[in-house]
Symmetry: C2
Subunit: 194 residues, 2 copies
Amino acid sequence: MGFPRATVSLPGWVEEFLPDPNRDYPTEEDRMRLVIELSHLNVDQGTGGPFGAGIFDLSTNRLVAPGVNLVATTNLSAAHAEVVAIMISQQVVGHFDLGGEGLPAYELVTSTEPCAMCFGAIPWSGVRRLVCGAREEDARRIGFDEGPKTPAWVASLEQRGISVARDVCRDEAAAVLRYYAEKGGMIYNARQGA
Amino acid sequence: MGFPRATVSLPGWVEEFLPDPNRDYPTEEDRMRLVIELSHLNVDQGTGGPFGAGIFDLSTNRLVAPGVNLVATTNLSAAHAEVVAIMISQQVVGHFDLGGEGLPAYELVTSTEPCAMCFGAIPWSGVRRLVCGAREEDARRIGFDEGPKTPAWVASLEQRGISVARDVCRDEAAAVLRYYAEKGGMIYNARQGA
């Protein structure tokens, strides 16, 4: 029957933009600024929605893999920045559990708090920490339906041993959301047909 | 820097197993039995966890694309059966919104109720209906951490125009979960390291 495959790969500009892989990002703000810059470039390059993410190795403070929103360019509704960063990092590390035996602690940094899907993807990914920039309501304000997340989402991650930091460079992150809306960026909620 | 790509493709046995693409599956039970059989074969073939899914076109009752759990074989924690079926179907249809303009209604049939991630992926996918076999607690009973789903998950889908049917062939679906556990199948929850 020949079912197609689904492939998630980073746009060429991401690798061109990223500096030296040996660079380290010692603070949470350093790491957040990188993913906010990715979110901004993703808008300017026209490769997706205004969202960036990255997985960092907390033993070295280096980037394992970045992610940007690629929903419209890949035709994959699951290709949110967080899921892209997780998927590519799991290929880099060679394991589906980034919290597996013998691995350092990995952190997911995301320019906007996870939607319901990305939130649910985090416990499966193996990351030990989540750092968020803009709030969910900043994304909702420009029209995205972030989905039905349990109100106790932060506590439910922490119960699973995943620490959470919020509002890291929130203003800079939210500014990219507004920039996208002002440019008339597509709000790709589903069920747009009749 | 050469970041790898992440690819989701169906194992060869899926296409060999699937009958005529023109076959139709007129009832919910017909569609569920197909995805339960996929979940069972996925265990026997050793290609992943005991979960199967499929997207069906409700205007023709035909299968658009199937999905099976491929977490361990792809090293992708997001490669749950539902996400795989959604991703492959979006490539078949050529759109990230299966509920887009001019498209028929699509239904996601899953052998076990969605985990928190797959639940969050459903509103983004564009499907108009969800049909579930085994209950979340059947998966939890064999050790899977299904994640923190909002207790009002069914209502929150229905509010978005996605109808939900539960317990369709639940016993047959749950039997595959028990079969996997009895065979000593891997329970691939994350953060297995220290």
